[in-house]
């Protein structure tokens, strides 16, 4: 059983750290947080061509994480694969010892670095959850039996600040029904919004990992120019305080904010665990964990 699943089941407070697969084959930087933090965090998350930008294959990267001594949470996007590829990659992931899988629709191709690529979306994230659960039950999406079936711990994404929230909540329930065992949110800065969102969830909503993110200078510049277009909001005070500051000063303040959020989320029991995003930098992750007392 995966450490992530075990920790969540035992009511622990897992910490997942997001890695950055390289655009190329140099994997040293990607694996640096694993070397630095393997004994300290529960799992290392590996996005799959995040933001529709082509990078080293997530499943290969996740296997490298396991070989480096960490546990992986690998993402699989519907954007780049039809159902055959999704299913064979899921089986391949299982054969490589990957149990934690985050199933996502995937940002649209025109938002990434291969805007002329053909978007696939043969399955959506709900259907992909059904497919993965079907594989775990011993059959593929065509109903054909498998020789050896995988054991997955299946995750999905939920957007606490979605507007309108109604369709998002309906999709959340569908994902639960389709087999999602845990959910990951985008970055959260406003904990009141998170509280209000949690009040809307049905009974037994699975486990929730809330993302806490260290903002970069580009994001602060974007937000202070009024160009912020993300599914999570930023505190206006933080943006105006950091606008125009040096990148490292922004990072330092970001680490401070992240640590405070992690602490508060844990203390107030606002989530079952946290998912940290800090540019894949081991120094930033370490500082957050230390400041949060984890």
């Amino acid at each position: 059983m995966s450490k992530l699943r075990e920790t969540l089941a035992a009511g622990g407070f897992p910490v997942v750290v997001e890695l950055k697969p390289p655009k190329g084959t140099g994997v040293e930087d990607m694996l640096a947080p694993v070397t630095a933090l393997a004994g300290r965090v529960t799992a290392f998350s590996v996005p799959d061509n995040e933001h529709a930008k082509m990078r080293l294959a997530a499943i290969a990267a996740a296997r490298l994480v396991q070989e480096a001594g960490g546990e992986a949470l690998v993402h699989l996007t519907c954007r780049d694969r039809n159902r055959l590829a999704l299913e064979s990659d899921l089986l391949g992931a299982a054969a490589l010892g990957l149990e934690n899988i985050l199933l996502v629709s995937g940002d649209y191709v025109t938002l990434g670095d291969h805007p002329q690529a053909k978007p696939v979306y043969d399955a959506d994230s709900v259907q992909l959850l059904q497919i993965a659960r079907g594989l775990a039950d011993g059959h593929d999406s065509a109903g054909l039996p498998l020789k050896g079936s995988p054991a997955f711990f299946l995750g999905a994404v939920v957007i606490p600040e979605a507007d309108p929230l109604g369709p998002q909540l309906l999709k959340f329930e569908k994902k639960l029904a389709a087999g999602a065992q845990f959910f990951v949110t985008p970055a959260v800065f406003d904990l009141d919004k998170l509280r209000r969102f949690r009040e809307q969830l049905p009974e037994n909503p699975g486990k929730l990992l809330v993302s806490v993110k260290v903002l970069g200078a580009d994001e602060i510049a974007n937000a202070s120019a009024g160009q912020w277009r993300k599914v999570y909001s930023l505190p206006p005070d933080l943006v105006s305080e950091l606008a125009g500051k040096e990148p490292e000063a922004i990072m330092a303040r970001g680490v401070e904010t992240a640590a405070r959020l992690v602490k508060q989320i844990k203390q107030e029991n606002l989530a079952d665990g946290v998912y940290l995003k800090a540019k894949g930098r081991p120094d930033l992750f370490t500082q957050i964990l230390e400041a949060a007392g984890l």
């Binding site: 978007p119 709900v126 259907q127 507007d163 309108p164 309906l170 569908k174 599914v231």
Partner: protein, 226 residues
């Protein structure tokens, strides 16, 4: 209807460059409504070609004709005798019309004068928007009359993606999120339960190209052959 856009003039000019006598064939239905390939656009293209080539001291003889529908055998048959006198044909029809004209009438090279873009609606003269991807499995009855296959860029069947922002689409923020619209429509109709049901994977085998539809009455009369 089928929406198309006139190809760039330079592209058409380059295609017909090797010929001295061409026929431009317009189509009087969809592409006429969307101002891309009807009788007027045939005349416009002919004038443009004559003027441009005239400036280069080149001569090009151009015939012009527009039929009601190039995708219809009934309207194409009478055209066949007329095309024989020309070295090349420029069809201003959608891709279906271009292929059918070539198949039925034309021994000489044929060139498309438009790029076929989508199945859409005429909002007003000059403003057309897509509505249907001809997916062979219409969901409109359960999605409040808004097509998730077409109106959601990802074609998601089970609700919005995570990119919806203030009810707008992550791909084009100027557009409303199709699933937000579907949600509001179904809510108004008291049919939100439709959105709770998980729709299965789309049967893409039905979409294998080229598609064929044979009406039951045709089958009864002629068997299954076209």
């Amino acid at each position: 209807m089928i929406i198309a856009e006139r190809k760039p003039f330079a592209e058409i000019k380059a295609m017909v460059a090797p010929y001295k006598k061409i026929l431009i064939v317009g189509c009087g239905t969809c592409v006429a409504v969307c101002l891309a390939g009807g009788e007027k656009e045939v005349g416009l293209l002919a004038s443009q070609l004559k003027l441009a080539l005239g400036l280069e001291d080149k001569r090009l003889e151009i015939g012009e004709i527009t039929v009601e529908r190039q995708c219809d055998m009934e309207f194409l048959r009478p055209l066949c005798d007329f095309t024989a006198d020309y070295e090349a044909i420029v069809s201003m029809a959608c891709g279906a019309g271009v292929q059918f004209l070539k198949q039925l009438c034309s021994l000489q090279p044929i060139f498309p004068g438009v790029n076929t873009t989508f199945i859409g609606v005429n909002n007003e003269a000059g403003y057309y928007t897509e509505r249907c991807r001809a997916c062979h499995n219409c969901y409109l009855g359960i999605t409040g009359g808004i097509c998730p296959v077409t109106m959601c860029p990802k074609g998601l069947l089970n609700g919005p993606c995570g990119g919806t922002l203030n009810g707008h689409c992550e791909v084009d923020p100027a557009k409303e999120c199709a699933w937000s619209q579907i949600y509001h429509r179904l809510e108004l109709e008291g049919r939100l339960d439709n959105m709770k049901e998980i729709l299965p994977l789309h049967p893409h085998d039905r979409c294998t190209t080229p598609g064929t539809v044979i009406h039951p009455a045709y089958k009864r009369r002629y068997g299954i052959n076209e």
